[in-house]
Symmetry: C2
Subunit: 522 residues, 2 copies
């Protein structure tokens, strides 16, 4: 009578019947059952949250900021290059004519391939493909025991293992957690060694000075086993360039653009514009500023090298105006993602968004904020989703369990976006004709032929009935995700790697470590 | 350097500074701070997941099912009416020519007003408005103590109180929980009395036989204080008509359509088509069947009375093929919602979806499944979201805490959908010009003028930093929602009601109870 008295509908399949108790067994082999590595494609036109006139107004406001007020460019060579390209430089302030900005932005590619260490881990950026990266840059992590710890190499390696094993984690957009037990002078070397030997997925460079950029590029080249020319033809490593909002690009960021773009590697230009803090409190105003900063950075990447791969990063969110804490996975964040996506489509640039949550633990808030962020990204038309798996606490900790749960959410996104077929087999008219009114489809050949593959089967969701679930100890999603994470770590196997390449990587690191790495003042 | 080292950004506002500890106080007056009662409007064109040819194929398949195989119509008078309208009747089987179906479906209104007991609680159904209903029909509930109990009147009343107090709960789509301590013969009478005296929001009738329909309609009339003619002009009460899928309408459901449609009240025709159980395992196939059943029911409502308000209900989800349990808030559910929305727009019918989760407790799964369902509904273009607040465990329990958390999610939906303005004030060029590079916006007049209203401030989300949150006992979202629910219940005040109306309702119930209500065989 009522449409939601949804009690168990037991399939009548005799020996195939499975009850809750057997679900555990399935979860134990979760990784073996996951969908294969592969990128989803968006087959639908993303919705528009602003009309064309409004989009024009935002664009015009952004270029007026660049024209009238400009951006601080804290790098002599960058200012020289910009001046030579037509920008107006006064002291450290650089102002841009709109025509110049749009001319350079127009030379950025709309799509390109990001190469993994293994060719089967190559990723198409743009052209409607979705690309998901691991959590990155968290200073802390929460591992299997639920304790929050300062980042260390043990946690870093575990998170790399998880990211390698989980197919929807398609590249590493940085260190999943910052391993502060590795001294800053050599951290980038040992971390790159770990990632390239424990994973065959594309990796990242932190733009923290020229030498680190060069080390990272060289190690990516060695890991791929290619020559310099091939690497320069085939973008193989990413960096995130954050504006120091409002309207400042500092020295290492600009140096990062120079080193990466000049070698045809990927810059992800991402202003961090929290509305009400580093940007206007209104979302359209924050987007105006984000867009001005992004256009300036993207323009500069093309001044360095026309055609270099560059991605427009949107990270506009709001601040809890009571505490000053950043908020994530909010409706304002989703609105910003949709507007940013419209701007990126206007400019013909790939759009990077993120899967974010401010929650301190893996509770309902973590679930709803992450899905808000993911749907904002998907409906915003994001090409690249950073921090797609494992990001918690506004980025202040990486979580093993959240990485597993997010892998489910990413697989759900891919399942949702898969093309709908209306073939006769999918429309199922024969099965419909075959089942009597008030009957059921369990025994239908049409059902039996598809029952194990028809639907996405999540690792974490628990669909057992109340009684079975209660008897099993009433595990909550966070606990189930921890268990799956532990099982995956126990199953970890590093992907194949030529001994010669491993040795060359080790030699490179050892040599650079012996040289002191990159000198620091601490 | 890194875009996610998102540590606390403390606003420098001196006395306005608030830390985590004060957040508690705010939550204590959560209901006083909620946005006012009002409907969101969808200002964006929902995305299309199937193209026009595919939509045609689904439509054609559905009408071929009605033409070639038909539907069981287990009601003599309904079959007579359908035969008189041109359907082919053989025994209890009724087959429909596509032209006849589409002729009648075409006479249903694309939008109408559902009248609340108070005029300010009237709801526009269709025309891009979103309408949210409470959880309904759960056999169990989880209250403030976290214990799951069989439905009773105490739980029923608490959930009505919560729904009345929470502005985003805009109508009651049934009993939030089934109060089985009220005998079935008089339950509908006492429940209608409770809702109409404790709430001024629109209510619902369970179509469980003619007398219950008539009692419910009469009590809605008395509660509104209007005459029969006004009630018949102004739809004021809803019923859900579930097909007994596959392809059967049983006697009370058909009687419900007759009683409600003939009096111009609202039928929500909702096949419960779980893919792989009562419908084909393929989502397009399940939609073909859902659509055939929905069109048959909608057609019949228009056979009863052309122009009667009717809503197309989509409830297609998938089954966990291992356990047979229904799954909700899945990617398949969202795909079904988007296709159903496209069908409804083709037919010019309001579309009802739901906010669902299969989770047994208020964990991350409850959060992510609900948001998946909500975004599927919003992006599917749903006009009416049933079970929008409080639905858990696949509908097997209503939760006080989930109702609060869902109220946040619904307010987030409304915030997300609010029109974007690109006025000069919103674009904030003056503020941008005013803040120096690397400065901040906290002290800007533009910020100060908007700081308390700029962003949606959720009741449940906890954005405190780790240290403050830990000192506060590390409350998880589910616990916070329980606390807020308790505070709301403590604050409950019934809305004004004329004593004469209250007396008339009481007299009606007393008379009907004295008559034995509706006779049952138990």
């Amino acid at each position: 009578m009522s449409d939601n008295a949804a009690d168990d509908l037991q399939p009548e399949r005799g020996s195939r019947r499975r009850r809750g108790g057997e679900r555990t067994k399935r979860v134990r082999s979760a990784v073996g059952e996951q969908p294969p590595f592969g990128q989803a494609r968006r087959n639908m036109q993303p919705p528009s949250i602003v009309d064309d006139d409004q989009l024009d107004a935002i664009h015009e406001a952004s270029v007026s900021v660049l024209r009238d007020h400009g951006v601080e460019i804290l790098h002599d060579d960058a200012r020289r290059r910009l001046a030579a390209a037509g920008a107006r430089v006064e002291g450290t302030r650089v102002r841009f004519d709109p025509e110049m900005v749009m001319d350079f932005v127009g030379s950025a590619p709309t799509s390109f391939t990001l190469h993994g260490r293994s060719p089967e881990k190559n990723l198409r950026i743009g052209d409607g493909h979705l690309t998901f990266g691991s959590v990155a840059s968290a200073p802390n992590y929460v591992g299997l025991d639920g304790q929050r710890r300062t980042g260390d190499r043990a946690g870093f390696r575990d998170l790399v293992r998880l990211g390698q094993m989980l197919n929807p984690v398609q590249f590493f957009g940085g260190y999943p957690v910052e391993p502060v037990d590795l001294h800053a002078s050599i951290r980038h070397l040992e971390c790159a060694y770990d990632v390239h030997t424990m994973s065959d997925k594309a990796f990242h460079i932190y733009s923290l000075g020229r030498e680190r950029n060069l080390d990272g590029i060289e190690m990516a080249r060695i890991a791929r086993g290619v020559d310099h020319e091939t690497l320069e033809r085939e973008p193989s490593i990413t960096t995130v360039i954050n504006a120091n909002s409002p309207r400042t690009y500092d020295t290492p960021m600009l140096e990062g653009i120079i080193q990466m773009a000049s070698r045809n590697q990927v810059c992800i230009i991402t202003p961090f514009t929290l509305a009400g803090a580093m940007a206007p409190i209104t979302i359209p105003g924050a987007i105006v500023q984000q867009n001005a900063e992004a256009l300036a950075g993207i323009c500069f990447s093309q001044v360095v090298r026309r055609g270099a791969p560059v991605i427009y990063g949107g990270f506009t969110s709001n601040v809890d105006m009571r505490s000053g804490s950043p908020a994530f996975g909010t409706p304002e964040y989703a609105r910003a993602a949709l507007i940013t996506g419209q701007l990126c489509r206007r400019y013909g640039l790939p759009f990077r968004s993120s899967n974010v949550s401010a929650s301190n633990n893996l509770d309902a808030q973590a679930g709803y904020e992450s899905v808000w962020a993911l749907w904002g990204a998907v409906m915003g038309g994001a090409d690249l989703i950073f921090h797609a798996a494992g990001w918690m606490e506004g980025g202040l900790h990486a979580s093993y369990a959240k990485m597993v749960m997010d892998a489910d959410l990413l697989n759900m996104v891919s399942t949702f976006l898969a093309p709908v077929s209306t073939s006769p087999e999918e429309l199922a008219l024969e099965a419909i004709a075959d089942v009597a009114p008030s009957g059921h489809y369990f025994a239908e050949p049409h059902t039996q032929a598809r029952y194990s593959t028809a639907f996405y089967s999540p690792m974490v969701s628990d669909w057992r009935n109340w009684e079975t679930w209660t008897e099993a100890g009433a595990p909550i999603a966070g606990d189930r995700a921890v268990r799956v994470a532990g099982e995956i770590l126990a199953e970890f196997e590093a992907p194949p790697l030529d001994d010669a390449i491993r040795d060359e990587l080790r030699d490179y690191v050892d040599r650079r470590v012996a040289e002191g790495g990159v000198a620091t003042d601490f």
